[in-house]
Amino acid sequence: MAEAAVPALHDEQHHEQSFGQKYLWSTDHKMIAMQYLFTGMLMALVGGFMAYAFRMQLAFPGMDVPFYGIVSASEYNALVTNHGTIMIFWVAMPVLLAAFGNFLIPLMIGCDDMVFPKVNRLSYQIFLLSAVVILGSLFVEGGGFAGAWTAYPPLSAKAEYSQTPLGSSLWLVAVALEFVAFLLGGINFITTTMNSRAPGMKFYDIPMVVWMIVIASVLFLVSVGPLIAGAMMLFMDQNVGTAFYDPDRGGDPILWQHLFWFFGHPEVYVVMLPAVGITADVICVFARKKLFAYKTVLYTAFGTGVLSFTVWAHHQFIAGIDPRMAHIFTVTTLLISIPIAEMIFVYIATLYGGSIRLTTPMLWALAFIAEFLIGGVTGIFLGASGADIYLHDTYFVLAHFHYMFYPIAIIGTFAGIAHWFPKMFGRMMNETLGKIHFWLTVIPFNVIFIPLFILGLAGQHRRIYDYTNFPELAIQPLQDLRVLATVALLVMLGAQLIFLYNFFSSMFKGKKAGKNPWNATTLEWTTESPPPHGNWAELPTVYRGPYEYGNPDREDDYWPQNEPV
C-alpha cells in the first residue's frame, strides 16, 4: 500500500459538517482529545473546590466556608473521598492518558486517525456518562459516598455503616463505567501504535511520550480486571445482600483490599508514565539535545511496568497481612525505586551540556523532575514496612503521594499543555503569564505539602475532620502548619485563574503559531496548526529517530524525522 501517495482527506472534507458532527459526536481523534481535555479540566475545578472546602475546615474548624457552608463530619469524609476519586479517575487519567494520547498518538506516528474512530467516540461517551454519574452521586439522598477512595468494606458494603446507600452504589457504577471507557480507549491506543506507524518508523523511532502512553494503557488493561471483578462483588454486597466481603458469612474484607491494590498500585504508574513521557519530549526540545539513553528509558519503563505488579501490598502493611508477605513486598517496593531513579538520571544527563531555553513548558518539565524526585525519596520510608507501622495512615503518606500525583497530574499536564497548545489551537500562549502562573503554582505547592510531612511525622492521622478533639495534635504550632498549608492552597488555586485566562484568551487572540514554533523534530510539527481532518494531505515517511537535535553535520540544530536523507 503506497500510503505516502494516497491522500488522507476523507469525504467529509467535501461537505459542511454540522456543529454536532464537528464538535459533539466527532470521530476525529483530535476533537475527542479536546473533549477529554475540557471534561478533565472541569472536573479538576470540582476536585480543587473540594480540596478548598476541606482544607478550610481543617485550618479553621467549624467555620462557615465561603461558597460552601459548614463542613460537617460526614460531609468532610465525602469531600476527601470524592476529591481523591475525581482527581485520579476524572482528571489525571482523562487528561494525561486520554487527551494527550488521543491528540498525540496519530500525529506523532504519522497516520490519519486512530484505528477505530467510532470506538474512540464511544469511549468518550461512556466516560462522559461516568462523569455525570459521579457528579450526580454527590446530590442524591444521603449524599455522596464517604468511605475513602479505597472503599474498604464493610464501611463501603453496608449502608448501616456508610450512611450513603445510594451514593455508595452510584460511586461504584461511575468508577466501573470509567474503567470500561479507558479499556476501550486503551485498546485503540495500543493497536494504533502497534500497527499504524509511518513507513520507516521502527520501535526506537517512536517518541517517548507515545511509548509511555501505550505502556500505561497496557498496565491499565492488565491490572484493572481483578478490580472489575471485585467491584461487581462489592456492588452485590451493597445491593443484593451477598457476603463476599463479610467474614461472618464466609467472605473476607481483605480480599477487597488485595483486589483494589493489585490495580491501585499499577494505576499510579499508569498516570506517572505519560507525565514522564511528556517531560522527556519537552526537555529534548528545549535543551536542543537528543535523549541521553533512549533505550535505557524505554527498558526501564518496561521494567517499572512489570515490577509495578509486585509491590501492591505495601498499601496493606498494617492491615494484618501475612508478615512474610510484608517482607517480600518491602523488598520489591524498594527495588522499584531503582528504575525510576534511572529515568531521572537519564533526564538529568540529557539536560547536561544542553542549550537550555527556559520557556514555560521547559520550566514545568524541570519542576516535574525536581518535585517528583522529592516525592520519590519520601516513598522509601513508607516502603520499609517497619517505618510504615508508624507512618501508615498519617499525613506523611498523604504528603508523599501528593508529591507524586501533583507533579504527575498538574505539573506534567501544564508542561504538556504549554508545549502542545500551539499545535492544538494554532496560537501561542502568553509566555509572561505562563511564567507567573508557573511560579505561583509550584512554590505554593511546596508550601502546602511540606507542612503536611511534618504533621504526619507528628502523628496526625488522615481522614479526621477536626483535630481539636486530639489534645496532642491540637497544639498551636501544629495548627499554625495547617493554616499555612491552607493559605498556600488558596494562593495556588487563585493562580489558576491566570492559567484559565491565558488558556482561553490565547485560543482566540494569541499570536499565530505556524507549523513548528519550537523547531522540534517529531512528526506532529510537520503539519498545520491545528492539523486538518486527516492530519496530512500526504502521510509522512520517517527516516530517523525522534530526538535528532544538535547534529554537528547540519546547519540547523534539529533534523525533522520526515526529512529525506
Binding site: 490519519d112 506507524r197 488493561l221 491490572s223 462483588m233
Partner: protein, 191 residues
C-alpha cells in the same frame, strides 16, 4: 459517517488491526475472569463445607451446556473457514448456528437457575452460591453480548461484506467457550 482511516489498514506488527484488537480484548477479559475465579478458588479451598453446597449443582446440565458451547465453537470456526474462502452466505449460516447455540445455552441456564432458586439456592443462600451466580452470570452476559454481535456480523457477511469480522467474533466466542471450560469443573464437578 466516516470512511475507514488509512490507519486501520496498516499492519506494521504483522497482524491485521482487527485481530490484534480482539486479542487485547481477550487479554483484558482473562484478568477480569481470572480475578473473579481466583477469588472463588481461594474461598473454595478454604471452606471444606462448600462441597456440600456444590453437590446441588447439576453435573449433567453443566455437561450439556459444555457440549453446546463446544459445538458452537465448532460452528464458529467453520464460519471462519467459509469467510476465508469468500463464501459469505455459508459464513453467515455458521454464525446463525453459533448464535442458536448461545440461545440454547442461555435457555438451559435460565431453566437451571429457576430450578435451583425455587429449591432455595439463591444468590444469598451461602457465599458459594454468591460466587456461582456471579461467575456464571458474568459469563452468561458475555454469551449474550457475543451472540448479539455475531448476528450483526452475520447480517453483513450474508452480503459478502466485512468477512474479516467473522474470524474476529469467532475469536471472542472461543474465549467465551474457554471461560466455560474452566467454570464447568470449578462449579459443577469439584464436589
Amino acid at each position: 459517517m466516516s470512511a475507514t482511516p488509512i490507519a486501520t489498514g496498516r499492519s506494521t506488527s504483522g497482524i491485521p488491526t482487527g485481530r490484534l484488537a480482539v486479542w487485547w480484548v481477550i487479554a483484558s477479559e482473562i484478568v477480569i475472569f481470572g480475578g473473579l475465579l481466583i477469588s472463588y478458588i481461594m474461598h473454595r479451598l478454604a471452606h471444606g463445607n462448600w462441597a456440600e453446597q456444590a453437590a446441588h449443582t447439576s453435573t449433567w446440565v453443566g455437561a450439556f451446556n459444555t457440549l453446546v458451547l463446544l459445538s458452537s465453537s465448532l460452528s464458529a470456526v467453520l464460519g471462519h473457514k467459509a469467510a476465508d474462502a469468500g463464501d459469505g452466505k455459508k459464513a453467515a449460516k455458521m454464525l446463525y448456528i453459533t448464535a442458536f447455540g448461545a440461545l440454547t445455552f442461555v435457555c438451559v441456564k435460565a431453566a437451571e437457575w429457576t430450578f435451583e432458586i425455587s429449591h432455595g439456592y439463591t444468590i444469598t443462600s451461602s457465599t458459594f452460591w454468591s460466587f456461582y451466580y456471579t461467575a456464571a452470570g458474568l459469563h452468561a452476559l458475555h454469551v449474550i453480548a457475543g451472540a448479539i454481535i455475531m448476528l450483526i456480523v452475520a447480517q453483513a457477511a450474508k452480503r459478502n461484506q466485512h468477512l474479516n469480522r467473522v474470524e474476529l467474533i469467532g475469536l471472542y466466542w472461543h474465549f467465551v467457550d474457554l471461560v466455560w471450560i474452566f467454570l464447568f469443573p470449578l462449579l459443577y464437578i469439584a464436589k
